[in-house]
Amino acid sequence: NLTLRLQSVFQKLKGKGTLSEQDVSRAMREIRRALLQADVNFKVVKDFIAEVETEAVGSDVFSGLNPGQHVIKLVNQHLIKLLGEKVSKLKVASKPPTTVMLVGLQGSGKTTACAKLARLIKQAHRFPLLVAADVYRPAAIDQLEKLGAKLEIEVFSRGKQDPVKTATEAVDYSRQKGWDTVIIDTAGRLHIDEELMNELKMMKQKVEPTEILLIADAMTGQDAVNIASSFDEQLGIDGVILTKMDGDARGGAALSIRAVTGKPIKFVGMGEKLEMIEQFHPDRMASRILG
């Protein structure tokens, strides 16, 4: 437990008011270990520690706190600041429909997230249309259609036709029928798959989405920076949904993704049921990462 480890680092510091460089560097070694165990990326940890270290040295221990608690409080503050704004809503297009593309690696939770977002949109008295643009995965269209049926939300699909064509037809269809929000489910893909990344670029070009959301698994390890930066550089993402946060993954990927893209984490998936999606809370995420 981090608090206990830091307390043992600072055992000889009772009564001292300020932290010396040596005290801090020993504390930072514990913080570094905690962040790496939480899956925060190695390089992100390095930068983060450097930043906190400069502030910690010579700082006055907050009254009422022991030095260990003081360091944790500083780290926590920095984490919260890095993790970003609390209320991050979905953009609404000035001219309907609002179009949202969900992208990400295989199995990250995109199809489920599409349905969850559609449900929220419907709850907000808007008119969502789900689009089945994953033409590769066996029964992907079935999956989205079943979720849509459960929510009584229409699912637009054109079978195995070119997904870019399906997406553009869906937007036209939404204008005809008065659906004001189009949510596009795409196939999982690797950021290093040139052909499939080009497909997304083409879809973006033709559909001109209001928002592109990267769907990332909360248990993602060091690779989170590669995935996020690649999707952001190649496609441009507007925000992130971190899924499977109902598990016990510390979720350091959140910090890595935020640090490397600067984009907000807008929602977190908290379960398999369609109502299990919540706003992202940076303060809760910070304590979770620190363990």
Binding site: R33, L36, Q37, A38, D39, N41, F42, L105, Q106, G107, S108, G109, Y136, R137, P138, A139, A140, D142, Q143, E145, K146, L147, K150, L190, H191, I192, D217, M219, T220, G221, Q222, D223, N226, I227, K244, D246, G247, D248, A249, R250, G252, A253, E272
Partner: protein, 283 residues
């Protein structure tokens, strides 16, 4: 007198970075470094190539610790039907891996039957049914929402009636922290044992190579609830993630990594090779 012999701080930092970036956890890295410091002579510790090889050897050794002649396989087991239970958290690639295994075992002239025991997730049964068609194998499936244990029971019955000699059971993804779901899985395992002597002969945990340290928690919990796993399949190694977390898992649980998932097609499954894996880990 000359101080404890250790590799230089620069070399240490370089190694640490490479291993941690590969998702080999902090504590496991410390353990490997300690072993290398101990095994090598002082003069060897200043030679990066010697140190690197020593690190690789240490990891190969850890990965091979679970590879004993007792690792069950249909090739080395006489009991029929041979039952293989496929488990893991959500989205790791279980269903796709089952398709690949079915393809592989069919090519080896075994007759696998698939059991669609994920009766929970939307279109899970449809997904496996399509894969069964592609692999050219039979599938036992009930309705969505039905009892997974009943599907397993029927699949074993089908095997016993001569439909096939092997049953590969697909289960719903579930987080290891969900007690009721893990209890359900333990029940599926018990049901697999009825009417099939020695079943389940294999319990394979499917892990996603992009996952970080949480995979260790997954392995521990699945192993505990199922009273032991027989092996691991590491999927999505065709991405940029290196899957180093299996080093800690092999170390802690002495589990063999049996296969790697290298893509989304039915042929994209390879036998795990520790040396090749370790070379990719540190390059």
């Amino acid at each position: 007198f000359l101080g404890a012999k250790k590799m230089s701080p620069e070399l240490l930092e370089e190694l640490e970075e490479a291993l941690i970036l590969a998702d080999v956890g902090f504590d496991t890295v410390e353990k490997i470094v300690a072993k290398v410091n101990e095994d090598l002579q002082r003069k060897e510790l200043s030679r990066p190539d010697v140190v690197k090889n020593s690190v690789k050897e240490a990891i190969v050794e850890i990965l091979s610790s679970g590879v004993t002649p007792n690792v069950p396989s249909i090739e080395n087991t006489k009991q029929r039907p041979y039952v293989s239970l496929i488990v893991g958290v959500n989205g790791t690639g279980k269903t796709t891996t089952i398709a690949k295994l079915a393809h592989r075992y069919k090519q080896m002239r075994f007759t696998p039957i698939l059991a669609a025991a994920d009766t929970f997730r939307a279109a899970a049964i449809e997904q496996l049914t399509i894969w069964a068609e592609r692999a050219g194998v039979d599938i036992i499936a009930h309705k969505e929402g039905g009892s997974p244990a009943a599907v397993v029971f029927d699949a074993v019955a089908a095997a016993n009636s001569g439909k096939g000699e092997m049953v590969i059971v697909d289960t719903a993804g579930r987080l290891h922290t969900k007690k009721n779901l893990m209890a359900e899985l333990a029940k599926i395992r018990r049901v697999a044992a009825t009417n099939a002597e020695g079943a389940p002969h294999e319990i394979l945990l499917v892990l996603d190579a992009t996952s970080g340290q949480n995979a260790i928690s997954q392995a521990r919990q699945f192993s505990e609830w199922l009273e032991g796993l027989t092996g691991i399949v590491l999927t999505k190694i065709d991405g940029t993630a290196k899957g180093g977390v299996v080093v800690t898992i092999a170390d802690e649980l002495s589990l063999p990594i049996l296969f790697l998932g290298t893509g989304e097609k039915i042929e994209d499954l390879v036998r795990f090779d520790a040396r090749a894996f370790v070379n990719a880990l540190i390059e």
